[in-house]
Assembly symmetry: C2
Homo-oligomer: 134 residues x 2
């Protein structure tokens, strides 16, 4: 443990990531986010990000549209999850959602035949469900 | 992207207010941004957004990765353009980049064989080129 060795490039990257500053600029391509795994805090994989909903002008991601793909028998509906309800975990290489099973199971989902309006009322509904201020 | 902290809910509201009530919740799916046309202010189409580079934790789009697809003889290189250098135009249904031809032609591009580090130095280089604070 106390051996004096030169840090490897990976060590330096890890150290930088711990600082947070570089994590701030840790970027991912939108076409790679699409498909990124989402886990519960215990490491259980619960689904994937299907795509993101992004402010056309702000460039701020508001929702990750997730597929839970059968987890808890939820079916393949796409479900909008507020971006702030996801925590990126560098070790997992994916996102963590901390939510009870019932919360996941009963979460709002998209109907195949109707695109949401994505307006304030919809945002307050979805963000409110997930306990995130809108 | 001057901030090195995640935007607060108030920041987001402010940003939304700046862009006007109708546009504020105007969202676009990441997998639809990919392919969205980009124009010059005179309406000339100059290329398309290939994908976005998004902060893994912040959810803030930092770069639109554009293909100019032959405009001004630029070839098919992908070029990172700061998000703030693009203005969404609802009438065009696309984004506007206001830049001189030389600026476009000489803009930084991605090498096929080397992924950029996307770190602060790279950000300052690219944002600096485009005259956008990083």
């Amino acid at each position: 443990m106390n051996d004096i060795v030169s840090p490897t490039a990976q060590d330096l990257r890890d150290a930088r990531n711990e600082v947070g500053r570089d994590e701030e600029h840790n970027l991912i391509a939108s076409n790679k986010v699409e498909g990124t795994a989402v886990y519960r805090p215990d490491g259980e994989k619960i689904g994937r990000i299907h795509h993101l909903m992004v402010g056309k002008t702000t460039g701020q991601v508001e929702y990750a549209i997730m597929s839970f793909g059968g987890f808890l028998g939820m079916g393949k509906e796409l479900r909008p999850v507020p971006w702030e309800a996801l925590d990126y975990d560098p070790e997992m290489g994916g996102y963590i959602v901390s939510a009870e099973e019932d919360t996941l199971r009963n979460s709002p989902y998209l109907r195949e035949d109707i695109e949401p309006t994505w307006d304030r009322a919809y945002g307050m509904h979805v963000f409110g469900y997930w306990g995130v201020p809108y």
